[in-house]
């Protein structure tokens, strides 16, 4: 296996500079090709949010790019690799290290599951290669775990907490009980939401960690606790679970009849795929913050229709984020004429852009957060659903500067 791969690499390195094409010689590639590695959860609790769809989005971006600029768009072939990190930081970090070392990957893309995201950020920093995180939520990636080669693309816990936490506290209820999955993402959500809730005049009476991964998927202990908290009881149960965890929590929430007993459900992180598996009936009226929805405007819709033609599903926003990150990376390679990581980093920093996913976007130099407009959304009642997957209405837009963490609160060492 290694020998074969080495031979192929050798052939490409030798032949690469000799490829005849117009415009050739404008982009110098270190290893004769661009290798993009998509690492995400392909079989576990977050598989529906990104998984194979996320890989498909990257491939689509590569194909569209080549279609637009020609086969020598970046001075060589573009290869897309993928791996399943199984939601384990050690597996993810090993795979990333291998992709960087053995396959000369230029960039690792996606990586949901915040603990894995942080692990790979460290690997990227060590190996001096790019890491474009799309799928993970933790804002640690742009704060304490920030580094030169890591960029955080689609959304983060500040965006979610600031949007949802504030709105739900104002509109629905002030006394919260927060449950969160016990790893980097959940812990971060707990902190971010607690801060936002308090700022909006609410109170978190108690927060509890649920096991992650949760083998039994049994949240009954916490649901019973929600009902029995004293004094005064809670009006909002804030669920920070994601993916399959969330699906099970919502089902059991309904089984225990908590809504009828006066407890509302607020969801920290909600994706289209979650609404699809739970159906709008189970989530009707839920308010949440989103980075993008497939039918929010014409540009988004056009892209989503093309994606639907390939993948037969409507994408959750990390999938769209993968496309955007891939496209912008390839554009940066074209612009700078090289795939040298330091030059790409320089090209990214401070770059302002718009695409079908990112509106009014900027890649901030100080913390490498990709800020953009975010949206407050609400799950429609089943009766208002006009076509398959049409589950969400946008309530209002949160402008980029407001949606993301202000630099004054940022702790990234690069910001100094």
């Amino acid at each position: 296996m290694q020998r074969g791969g080495a031979v192929i690499c050798a052939i490409l390195i030798v032949l690469g500079p000799m490829w005849p094409a117009a415009g050739q010689g404008t982009v110098q590639l270190t290893h004769g090709k661009v290798v993009l590695a998509v690492i995400n959860d392909q079989s576990g609790v977050y598989a529906d949010i990104g998984g194979k769809h996320g890989v498909e989005a990257v491939k689509m971006a590569v194909e569209d790019f080549v279609k637009k600029y020609g086969p020598n768009a970046v001075g060589g072939p573009i290869e897309v690799l993928s791996a399943d990190h199984q939601n384990k930081p050690d597996v993810g970090a090993s795979k990333a290290a291998e992709f960087y070392d053995r396959n000369n990957a230029n960039a690792v893309i996606d990586v949901p599951t915040s603990s894995v995201g942080i692990a790979i950020a460290h690997v990227a920093a060590q190996k001096h290669r790019l890491f474009l995180n799309v799928g993970a939520a933790t804002k640690a990636l742009t704060n304490e775990d920030c580094n030169k080669y890591t960029f955080h693309w689609a959304y983060d816990t500040y965006m979610l907490a600031h949007g949802t936490g504030t709105e739900v506290t104002k509109r629905i209820g002030k006394r919260w009980y927060v449950v969160y999955p016990n790893y980097a993402f959940g812990q971060d959500m707990n902190r971010s939401f607690s801060a936002a809730i308090q700022k909006a005049g609410g109170k978190v009476m108690l927060s509890d960690a649920t096991p992650f991964p949760n083998e039994t998927e049994d949240f009954s202990t916490f649901l019973i606790k929600a009902r029995t908290l004293r004094p005064g009881g809670v009006t909002v149960l804030g669920a920070m679970q994601a993916g399959q965890d969330l699906t099970n929590l919502v089902k059991q929430f309904n089984e225990f009849g908590l809504r009828q007993q006066g407890i509302n459900l607020a969801i920290g992180l909600l994706f289209l795929s979650d609404i699809h598996s739970l159906t709008p009936a189970a989530l009707e009226g839920t308010i949440y913050t989103t980075a993008w929805e497939w039918n929010m405007d014409r540009q988004a819709r056009e892209w989503s229709d093309r994606f639907f033609a390939r993948d037969k599903t409507r994408p959750s926003y990390p999938v769209a984020g993968n496309y955007s990150a891939t496209w912008q990376y390839l554009e940066a390679v074209r612009r700078t004429g090289t795939d040298d990581p330091d030059k790409i980093v320089a090209a990214f920093e401070g770059y302002k852009f718009n695409d079908f996913f990112v509106r009014n976007g900027e890649i901030r130099k100080q913390d490498h957060a990709v800020i953009h407009d975010a949206y407050l959304a609400q799950v429609k009642a089943p009766g208002d659903v006009k076509e398959p997957w049409d589950y969400v209405r946008i309530l209002n837009t949160i402008p980029a500067n407001e949606a993301f963490q202000p630099l004054s609160e940022n702790t990234c060492h690069m910001a100094r």
């Binding site: 079989s43 576990g44 202990t221 019973i224």
Partner: protein, 289 residues
């Protein structure tokens, strides 16, 4: 106070699963001296059996309660006859290792086929809704699980203590040579007892399907806790396994209320204490080893 009672109740329900699993494990160990590492995987197969029966054949939960454990029993019977039997002459550790290897294969094969996140299985319509207990609404299905498991445990107890078949099993377990000398064909009973033990695991799986996530690894961590329970209760004792199973369920539920970080480790700490003070287990009889 009320919240404690409700949590205890909740604990009895997870205890029911432990009780059923350790019951099957104890029966198999008593008769065959095999520690069945596969027990968790067979529990998982029972749950998937219910799912497949429902999805492919439209079989209702009630029928699945009978059919799926029988299917799991058949699988167990087959495995015992073809593989486990070969190692009876050797040290019992070999069968532990064999069942461990089988566990890996079964779990991974199911993962390849169904993915790791699991498949949905809904509560049967007759058992939906909730019942008011004190001040709290409790899902009807969970109450059913509790009642049904207690019935099954009682049924197994009756079978073993009060029937002729049970008498033979008890005799073969305690004095196999003497029983053989008295003309009982012990070997004929072995695969049946094994199949019965794993059927109990399969039954627990069917019960778990509507309320827990049906996924390939659902039995993986459960089996280790079950081992601890059987050590605590005493390996040969059926009563010990059942009582300890319920007790551990309650203990973990209370732990989750008062000191969540320790909830998972309580059973192992208890095991350590039992090992220190009464190595043969709370209900077990002192035996070599």
């Amino acid at each position: 106070m009320e919240i404690v009672l409700v949590q205890v109740f909740n604990g009895l329900i997870s205890g029911a699963f432990y009780a059923l699993l350790s019951l099957g494990l104890a029966v198999i160990f008593g008769m065959l001296r095999v520690v069945n590492f596969m027990h968790g995987a067979l529990y998982m197969l029972g749950a998937f059996g219910a799912y497949l029966l429902g999805v492919q054949l439209g079989v209702s939960f009630w029928w699945a309660l009978i059919v799926s454990p029988l299917a799991v029993a058949a699988v167990g019977f087959l495995l015992e006859r073809t593989l486990l039997r070969r190692l009876y002459e050797l040290n019992v550790l070999y069968n532990l290792l064999l069942t461990f290897g089988l566990t890996l294969v079964i779990q991974d094969a199911m993962r390849l086929r169904f993915g790791i996140q699991g498949v949905p299985y809904s509560i049967p319509p007759q058992l939906r809704g909730a019942v008011l207990i004190g001040f709290m609404f409790f899902p009807t299905y969970r109450l059913f699980v509790l009642g049904f498991s207690v019935l099954v445990c009682l049924g197994v107890w009756w079978l073993i203590e009060r029937t002729r078949a049970g008498m033979i099993i008890r005799a073969s377990t305690e004095h196999p040579v003497l029983t053989r000398a008295l003309g009982v064909d012990v070997d004929r009973w072995i695969p049946l007892v094994f199949a019965f033990g794993v059927a109990l695991a399969g039954l627990a799986g069917v019960l778990a399907a509507p309320m827990r996530n049906v996924s390939p690894l659902m039995g993986a961590d459960l089996i280790i806790t079950t081992f601890a329970i059987v050590v605590i209760g005493g390996m040969g004792s059926i009563l010990g396994s059942v009582v300890t199973g319920f007790f551990v369920g309650v203990l973990s539920a209370l732990g989750a209320v008062y000191y969540p970080p320790a909830a998972n480790t309580l059973v192992f700490v208890l095991m350590a204490v039992v090992l220190l003070l009464r190595p043969s287990g709370l209900f077990g009889s002192p035996e070599a080893g």
